[in-house]
């Protein structure tokens, strides 16, 4: 199984995302933002970073990159797609996921190991978890506050589309402590914290993040 990892100008975490995909037993394939070519991949990860320098709004310019047109089509056809941090911002800008990520409520850039509760294990990226499972993975962002209108929030809650919430104090002012959400179909997931930095205890706080990447493998071979 091939997992594509997109590199935009300003992407930081593409190598860690590719490493995580490889650790999970999939083949990582580099995708370039300027190429409208998905190289036959079965799933795609939009990694973290500061694509296009976060100019205009985070993810606003990346969303129109040539590779995104192909990715949006494939995701609408059911291809698993994970957006981490800046990737989550791109997914919201592309309207593959509802809402938007805005500046952290206390304005600080946060970088910490964050406890999360997994609240949906039926998506392509979360089947290796148990509902209610608590995990610790790094959170590092300046604009991670998930915002949406009341109707959208009620819909997300009602349909069980919140896949992870922050445990303890709300780090960034996200509505209902939302750390990650999915689309109606469950193939597209956006997550603000970074599972790709927590795939083994040599380089991360835990190995809890690896399950996101093994989930997609089992989703595809099922």
């Amino acid at each position: 199984m091939k997992v594509g990892v997109v590199t935009f100008p300003g992407t930081l975490d593409d190598r860690d995302a590719a490493r995580a995909a490889t650790y999970a037993g999939t083949e990582a394939v580099s995708l370039w933002h300027g190429d409208a070519d998905l190289k036959g991949v079965d799933a795609v990860i939009l990694p973290g970073g500061f694509s296009y320098g976060d100019y205009l709004r985070c993810g606003a310019i990346s969303r129109f990159a040539p590779v995104m047109e192909k990715i949006i089509d494939a995701a609408n056809g059911g291809m698993p797609l994970l957006g981490i941090c800046n990737g989550f911002q791109v997914l919201c800008e592309a309207q593959l996921l509802p809402g938007a990520l805005t500046r952290n409520h206390e304005l600080h850039f946060l970088c910490r190991d964050q406890k999360l509760e997994i609240t949906n294990n039926a998506t392509a990226w979360t089947t290796s978890f148990k509902v209610g499972q608590e995990i610790v993975i790094p959170l590092k962002n300046g604009e991670g506050s998930f915002q949406c209108d009341d109707a959208t929030l009620a819909k997300l809650e009602g349909e069980g589309r919140i896949i992870a919430r922050y445990v303890g104090e709300n780090p960034n002012g996200s509505r209902n402590k939302i750390a990650g959400i999915t689309n109606e179909r469950g193939n597209v997931v956006g997550l603000m914290p970074h599972p790709e930095h927590a795939i083994d205890t040599l380089t991360g706080p835990t190995a809890d993040g690896l399950a996101f990447f093994t989930s997609v493998l089992s989703a595809m071979v099922k």
């Binding site: 709004r57 606003a60 509802p98 938007a100 805005t102 409520h105 206390e106 506050s145 915002q147 002012g173």
Partner: protein, 81 residues
């Protein structure tokens, strides 16, 4: 030459932490007039000659698609002489 100006603001219900920070800084400098502050973005777009109705309609479309995110922001388009 005329300019087309697009002002983008966060919707009133969206928290604006930058505006809050500015609002908190003002009284520290002795400026006590502000009840609240909200911070936005301004785009100045130069065109040749007087902007046409068609151009303004295009700018509206561009503002909707790129300059503003309608999920969290509102925008206005106007001509400045």
């Amino acid at each position: 030459m005329a300019k087309i100006v697009v002002d983008v603001m966060l919707k009133p219900e969206i928290l604006d932490p930058q505006g809050v920070a500015v609002s908190a800084a003002l009284p520290r400098l002795g400026f006590n007039f502000a009840k609240s502050v909200r911070q936005g973005k301004r785009f100045e777009i130069e065109v040749d000659g007087e902007p046409t109705t068609a151009q303004l309609a295009e700018v509206e479309k561009a503002a909707e698609k790129l300059l503003a995110n309608p999920v969290i922001e509102t925008f206005t388009v106007r001509v400045e002489k």
